[in-house]
């Protein structure tokens, strides 16, 4: 049963990832990425990482993707990648290279391979004990990103 669920979710994840990189329209790509992030959240749940599944939906599928969709709607008025590709060579080489990388990763990692539950309480305890300093650094990082974005996006008068 768990195997069936895994393969269905994995198929959705791979299919939506392929949709992201193959559809010419960026907004379709963004929606495919939302599907992909959701399916990975489902996989987190199957791995027992409940907190991360919730954070994935809230942070990735929520905040980050809304930002992406906004940027796409502002920057690309319904346009697709058009015209002849000036770098056809890269496109032809990309498939074998990507396929080789995939095979390498799958075989190297999975071949040499032969559990507590990640509830919000357990992860939170870990974050506020052994990972307290990185956690505080994260807040500084987010603040710096916020200030930087305001500086970049401000209209120079």
């Amino acid at each position: 049963m768990a195997h069936v669920a895994f393969f269905v979710i994995a198929a959705i994840a791979v299919g939506s990832a392929l949709g992201l990189i193959l559809r010419p329209n960026a907004i379709h790509g963004a929606l495919f990425l939302v599907v992909n992030l959701g399916s990975v959240a489902a996989l987190y749940l199957m791995l027992g990482a409940e907190f991360l599944a919730a954070a994935q939906v809230i942070v990735y599928a929520g905040a980050i993707m809304v930002l992406f969709v906004f940027a796409i709607m502002i920057l690309i008025p319904g346009k697709e990648e058009s015209g002849p590709d000036p770098r056809r060579g890269a496109r032809i080489v990309a498939l074998p290279v990507g396929g080789l990388l995939m095979l390498l990763l799958v075989f190297v990692i999975a071949a040499r391979w032969n559990a507590p539950r990640g509830s919000a309480a357990a992860v939170g305890r870990l974050l506020f004990t052994s990972y307290l300093f990185p956690f505080e650094l994260t807040s500084v990082l987010l603040l710096a990103a916020m200030v930087g974005v305001m500086l970049l996006a401000r209209r120079r008068a």
Binding site: H3, F6, A26, N36, G48, L101, A110, A122, P134, L152
Partner: protein, 100 residues
Amino acid sequence: MVPESYYVALSAVLFSIGVVGVVIRRNPLVIFMSIELMLNAANLALVAFGQRIGNLDGQAVVFFVMAVAAAEVAVGLAIIVTIFRVRRRLSVDDLSVMRW
């Protein structure tokens, strides 16, 4: 119980798709989304490894990756919007210089 190696294999597949996306696409926004795909694949691998080892440190690291990804997306999209304001075009082939 699905073995963790399946998750790691799926993570490798998603990562490779992200790499291909970065190589074949010209729209910086789509390239950005492919990078998100790769980060996500790495997260999946981290959670699977953590499950295998039996502690929660992998999940803590994934939390930090998510925070860094959020910061990265905010700054990256601001840069893309700024470039678009100057250039009025959106193709990475045009962007070979940082200053003009």
